[in-house]
């Protein structure tokens, strides 16, 4: 017999099923679409969303914000992370900044950003501020983890500095960048959608969630939530796929 699912996959499926059952029981208990709609009704709503003329625009705009925020965080995080990893003084300078940014409640950042930026930029800014510290910290840890004996070997053989950065430091920190990127995006999507809910840009998943909530369209709120989860999951998968390509020597 052909094995359709591995044991692990069966357990994962059971986990998903468990959530659906709890949801169904609660829906039966409340018995009101204004509190918790039934899963099957929500599924129908979700499918209907795809047919919405603006669906691609809404999802696309949110994804674009995520990507822009992520790329800026990635670029600055890697650059500053490498500098801080190599120079203890720069690291001492950067630490308090990273700790502060990470400790500020996201909502406080959004309130300030609402004053400073137009609504479309607020989520990008929030996304950047939540993702940047993750990537940067991971890159610093990555640089620190580079085996000093490999650096010593490179210096003994008079390999020039830019080659050492390109061929020793960068490959060594790749696994750290990947795990930093993965946790950054996990948090980043949430921050971006909160940003959209509060700043109400013209298009965005957060925007439509907010208006659905105003009209007590609970099924639509949950449907958009499911779509947000799927997006987040898809990006996580892309990163893991990329990891296997980039960090090929580990596998």
């Amino acid at each position: 017999m052909k094995i359709l699912f591995t044991k692990k996959q069966i357990f994962s499926l059971a986990g998903v099923l468990f959530m659906l059952i709890v949801w169904k029981i609660l829906a039966l208990h409340f018995n009101s679409d204004f509190i918790l709609p039934h899963p099957e009704k929500t599924l129908v709503t979700t499918i209907k969303l795809f047919a919405d003329g603006n669906f691609l625009l809404i999802v696309g705009t949110t994804i674009l914000r995520g990507i822009v925020g992520f790329v800026i965080s990635g670029f600055l995080g890697i650059l500053l992370g490498i500098l801080a990893g190599i120079s203890p003084n720069f690291n001492a300078f950067l630490r308090p900044i990273l700790v502060t940014v990470r400790s500020i409640p996201v909502v406080a950042l959004i309130l300030l950003a609402l004053i400073w930026f137009n609504p479309g930029l607020v989520p990008v800014f929030i996304g950047f501020l939540t993702m940047f510290p993750f990537i940067c910290t991971n890159v610093i840890d990555g640089i620190r983890s580079v085996d000093p004996e490999l650096i010593q070997m490179s210096n003994f053989y008079r390999v020039n500095h830019s080659k050492i950065v390109r061929e020793v430091y960068i490959p060594a920190i790749m696994p750290f960048i990947v795990s930093g990127a993965s946790s950054a995006l996990g948090i980043g999507w949430r921050a971006i959608i909160i940003g959209e809910v509060l700043s109400q840009p013209r298009y965005g998943i957060g925007t439509v969630m907010q208006s659905a909530q105003t009209f007590l369209n609970v099924d639509a709120v949950i449907a958009w939530t499911i779509i947000a989860v799927v997006i987040s999951y898809a990006f996580e998968k892309v990163i893991r796929w990329g990891e296997h390509r980039i960090v090929v020597w580990r596998f």
Partner: protein
């Protein structure tokens, strides 16, 4: 030609490792330095490689010499294949074709042609050390410094690597300074064997081994006699 270190002084945490110490190395030969562990053999190599600065002394003949290294651990980049690891140190002074030919040649010499595209994680410890030997020889150096590269390997592997090393060395007779604490390794590879004392380091004895490196056997009477002498010298320590 002779490389000469004169009146070397080096203190390490208040201990005088070297005090007015002098030593010579003949170019084009393998000089083995034997001595008790912790006597400062590695420090001597590091001072020759200028990664540790002496407190005083002169290094005649070392100026402008290019060095390559074989360390105790192979020190290969895990994300580079065997081939790429050797290419990594070769630098851009030689063109790509030449570099490729050089890498292939040395990979063949250490008998890793079937593993040229393997990552270090997929190789055995002995194979990794062979890559490190190939790297040291492929690099256009004047002197090869070796810091106990055979430590911790089993006898069979050790003899195998010694054979590989002797084969590569015979081809261009580079100056080699080989630090070890293992008498047999020194007997099998050294044209000259120098025994050092505890700190402050002095030369206890200096022996020439006139048997060609490639046909030495640890059971031959010549080597046995030298071994006896070295054991007695080391025993005094």
């Amino acid at each position: 030609m002779v490389l000469q270190i004169k009146s070397l002084n080096k203190k390490y945490e208040e201990i005088s490792l070297y005090q007015d110490f002098s030593i010579t190395f003949e170019e084009g030969t393998i000089t083995c330095i034997l001595g008790p562990s912790g006597c400062g053999k590695t420090t001597l190599l590091n001072m020759i490689g200028r990664t540790v600065l002496p407190d005083g002394g002169t290094f005649d003949g070392f100026n402008g010499k290019v060095l390559s290294y074989i360390f105790q651990e192979p020190r290969l980049l895990p994300w580079k294949t065997v081939k790429e690891n050797i290419e990594f140190v070769l630098g851009d002074s030689i063109n790509a074709d030449e570099r490729k030919a050089l890498v292939d040649q040395f990979i063949k010499l250490v008998e890793l042609d079937n593993f040229a595209n393997y990552y270090p994680a997929k190789l055995s410890g002995g194979m990794r050390q062979r890559v490190s030997i190939a790297r040291a020889f492929a690099y256009k150096s004047d002197i090869i410094l070796m810091d106990e590269p055979l430590k911790g390997l089993d006898i069979k592997l050790k003899l195998n690597l010694i054979k590989t090393f002797a084969k590569l060395w015979k081809a261009d007779k580079r100056t080699v300074i080989f630090v070890t604490h293992d008498i047999d390794e020194a007997l099998l590879l050294g044209n000259e064997i120098i025994v050092l004392s505890q700190a402050p380091v002095q030369i206890e004895t200096r022996v020439r081994v006139d048997v060609p490196v490639e046909n030495r056997s640890i059971d031959s009477t010549t080597l046995k006699d030298i071994k006896q002498h070295l054991l007695e010298t080391l025993g005094k320590e």
